[in-house]
Symmetry: C2
Subunit: 586 residues, 2 copies
């Protein structure tokens, strides 16, 4: 049931390089649509990748590099037809947080470390994919991811204020530090820069709101660059990109030092997790709309290989981005051919078009980042989570607050730990329901929810959850307590239909409960014990003590027939006896 069935039927080449299958299943028309979508994405990708490179603390050209080879690699290996891989805001932020303390202001070392980090992220993702451990990623809940993304968006937006307003302040990584230094330096705002920056923000917002089909970032970049060149903004104190080197990245293996590997490991783990989660979520959503299928483990391999390529080709960690993927899908992308076209356009840009960016003000790139990430602040998820389950809402808020106050990685870690702790806490205190019979039926339901018939001599108790070391003692204590409170009880029927799993402690606790109740003259019966639980009880040598006395039943109704030999219990089902022999069915 858990083994994917398609793998066996898919040719080897197609399994290793899913692009082959995409192309095989495509026709000329759809490939043309993909090419158009690729062009559309490239138009966003060029300015965004340069902007995200700045956010990561790298020269803009590193963003172009991250949008060429890694994009091609993902296009070959990925199973999503619309996912647009490349630099994204949050991994850029995590990259900058990881590298700033290590590089000590040395841009060469910074660039080398960025490559190393991407290699590490790629290696981790490839390893997880090869070991089919994509399931590890699932321990990052959407509540945590939502709180983290919202906070990271605010951190990113705040970090761009410096470039947006032309402030001369040192780089800061944490939200409080950024806001404090920005607030202290507002008096030094460079008027012309602020005009360009805030003007670009306004233009981007207006374009997105009223002309969503136009490539806003590209338009703003083109217009601003032209204005900057004509008005000589660079000579009037507005920071411009100046020379963006032309050419394609040559492969360079970053130097490996144990100290760097150790220092970067936590960040690499966080980026690997976040990059994959963001991509897979988008990929699944778009695949569902397109009637396609995404393979989570293959996605890990594809994005891992893309990151490894980013590491070797002078770039920085990449991920499947939300906004560009959505644009790509809306423009008709259904196969990775779209990504190939986008990468080609970026490559051409890197080869011949970089002189055009000489006069582009940094404030415009900052505006592109700010407008992109403000859309990531997700209030709706927080409200929905809070309404659905308080602890999920707390997870969103706690991750949000921790990310803002403690920093991005501790914030993410706090969210993951909190959500796992909540799960463990709930599992340790499982819900239980006392059951009665719905009149006129063989249906047994919670006495607290339905008008049902009960019997003072028989306790029907349903336990909702795995019976394991953290709750076994608590549950057996609870049953013992009820039995002590009700002297008329003759039998306890444990409805184990919702006991999904157990362990050695659970098995022994059940055995101890049986003995404890027997000492009080109360028989313990089990109903609807699921197969895996049955197997474990047998291996623990607990099962025979129940079967030997006929205390195991296929369901509650069958148990009642045995514990009520007189046939007068209100719990007894009115149904006809089964027409066939069900004695072998548990």
């Amino acid at each position: 049931m858990t083994t994917p069935r398609r793998a066996a039927r898919t040719p080897l080449l197609e399994r290793l390089v899913p692009l082959v299958g995409f192309v095989r299943r495509s026709d000329r028309a759809s490939l043309r649509t993909d090419a158009v979508a690729g062009l559309t994405v490239a138009v966003m990708l060029v300015p965004q990748s340069m902007a995200y490179a700045s956010l990561a603390g790298l020269p803009p050209v590193a963003g172009l590099y991250a949008a060429i080879v890694p994009v091609v690699v993902y296009a070959l290996l990925g199973t999503s037809g619309a996912l647009a891989v490349g630099p994204v805001a949050i991994t850029a932020l995590l990259t900058s947080t990881a590298l700033a303390p290590l590089a000590a202001g040395d841009p060469w070392r910074y660039a080398a470390l960025a490559g190393l980090l991407a290699l590490m992220v790629g290696a981790l993702q490839l390893l997880l994919g090869a070991l089919r451990l994509g399931v590890l990623v699932s321990f990052l809940s959407h509540s945590v991811l939502s709180g983290f993304t919202s906070a990271a968006a605010l951190v990113i937006a705040a970090s761009q204020l410096k470039d947006l307003l032309g402030l001369r302040i040192p780089r800061a990584e944490d939200f409080v530090g950024i806001v404090t230094s920005v607030a202290g330096a507002l008096g030094t705002t460079q008027g012309l820069t602020a005009l360009v920056g805030l003007g670009s923000v306004a233009a981007l917002l207006v374009l997105r709101r009223f002309v969503p089909r136009l490539p806003g970032p590209l338009l703003v970049v083109v217009v601003a660059t032209a204005v900057s060149a004509l008005a000589g903004l660079g000579e009037r104190g507005v920071r411009i990109l100046e020379t963006v080197p032309a050419g394609l990245p040559a492969p360079v293996v970053p130097p490996l030092a144990v100290a760097d590997l150790t220092a970067l490991a936590p960040s690499a783990a966080a980026i690997a997790l976040v990059a994959y989660m963001e991509g897979i979520a988008v990929a699944k959503a778009l695949a569902a709309k397109a009637g396609q299928r995404v393979d989570p483990n293959q996605e890990l391999i594809a994005v891992g290989a893309a990151n490894a390529a980013a590491g070797v080709f002078q770039a920085f960690p990449v991920a499947g981005g939300f906004s560009r993927s959505a644009v790509s899908f809306q423009a008709g992308a259904r196969t990775p051919v779209a990504s190939l076209v986008a990468a080609l356009v970026v490559a051409v840009t890197a080869l011949v078009l970089t002189p055009l960016f000489f006069h582009l003000p940094s404030a415009v790139l900052a505006a592109v980042v700010v407008v992109a990430v403000l859309g990531l602040v997700d209030r709706a998820s927080a409200v929905s989570a809070w309404r659905t389950r308080r602890s999920d809402g707390v997870a969103v808020l706690l991750t949000f607050a921790a990310t803002l106050t403690l920093g991005v990685e501790p914030g993410l870690a706090a969210g993951v730990v909190f959500s796992l702790a909540v799960f463990l806490w709930r599992s340790a205190r499982p819900h239980t329901a006392e059951l009665g019979r719905v009149p006129g039926s063989a249906v047994y339901r919670n006495t607290a929810r339905y008008e049902v018939l009960t019997d003072p001599a028989v306790l029907l108790l349903r336990v909702d959850g795995p019976l394991y070391f953290a709750n076994a003692e608590r549950l057996t204590d609870q049953v013992t307590g009820i039995v002590e409170d009700r002297p008329d009880l003759r039998a306890v029927v444990l409805d184990a239909s919702a006991v999904s799993d157990t362990d050695t402690d659970g098995a022994h606790a059940l055995d101890a409960l049986r003995e404890r109740l027997a000492d009080r003259g109360v028989a313990l019966h089990l109903a609807t014990v699921r197969g895996p639980v049955r197997d474990l009880l047998a291996r623990a040598e607990v099962w025979p003590a129940f079967t030997a006395v006929g205390a195991v039943h296929r369901d509650v109704a069958a148990a009642v027939e045995v514990v009520d030999p007189g046939g007068r219990s209100p719990l007894r089902s009115p149904a006809e006896p089964a027409r066939t022999d069900l004695s072998g069915v548990l």
Copy 2:
């Protein structure tokens, strides 16, 4: 249902002072056994408490103080009948580590800080107990406890070899260090000491094996002391206790300084947890053997109050000790009366009886400890756990190995983390079963376990486990995969009877699955959704999309009736329709 019922019936005084209940439930014979056990413990407690005070960097008299009032306080409030509270090696070591850098060689300040540390430890434990956070301890599984106990027994036994054989080697705390130094010093074995030590071990083993009702440790101690005095063993090179100082403690509140509180806070937290974990682990193990029950929250309060008393009565942090508790239990202690007697004996001893122990060889005390703890090496649990579930067996072995190699605290931590990780891992990959109908019945069972009837147009799938963030995507992917593989499918019925809980992610994944299947023309139906899960789906606003199309059913049979309107499916139950209207029953 989740509120403990016993508490309400237990008289208030007995709830506040569990000793009252212990005494009420005891008879004269058992109280006499407790008194003998208390005497036996006291004989160990006097020299051990002084030794541990030295280890903590305090004058020996502080050890005696720690063994009087704190022991009485624990005896009044504790729920363990055999736990021997007092100075223990690990907390003594942690105390010395915490205080040495602060006291700067000033013995008065050192003693005051020791009291302050004990007060802080006590306050933390009382706080946890008052907040009823003792449930935290249930995350310590019996498998982990068994591996920890076995390894700790070996560590303690090895630590006694030095005294048992009269070796002149420095004290070491970890197993490898102890074994290495003992092995290197075996050539320096003091013959007469080894004779006394090994002879005592033999005597204790023979007494325990053939005359288990006699207080072996006490007999051996008395006989050995007499022999030592008569034969003048102390003058022949056998280490004897010699002069034990005298005195009773007066209450003194240690001076509180904010700087000290801040500096000691981390150590206080560590000691509070370690002391409690060690004590509760021993208490749980011994209670299980005696058929008693330990209340984790009350234990926190009891040991917290004992530490507060230690702080006020010029002592240092105390805990439930491993070896003395084992000796106490083996000597027959079943109620805290044993501790009261021990404290009384220590108090009397401190005033007038110390000369009696002048000639007692240290090797005899070592023999008492060795024989006591070797009985706690628990091979049977390891074998049973391994046979029942491989991961439980691994938990035993891993905790055992980690405790021996990494130390007592890291070993325990490794075991707890491993067992929680196993639980999370299993929860993230829940068991699922495709169901079919048992012929001639309305019973639906796993197709892999029973000869059942199935329908290519209807998938009946049971999910065994909570549907939550770590498994929701995996499960919905799995269902989507099956649907893609079976083009004849018209409906999927998810039997949620074993889905014990869910969260925001689970709810949204279910909704996404419904939409995804609908896109493929397959209807998703839910059967036997448990009340709490239903409530959450409603709050997540996912429920109405199912109820609006009649896709929610009280059980699988009812779901089949709806998804098979033609009435020709082999899944359809042959049972008569219910005689009553069950439309309101879910």
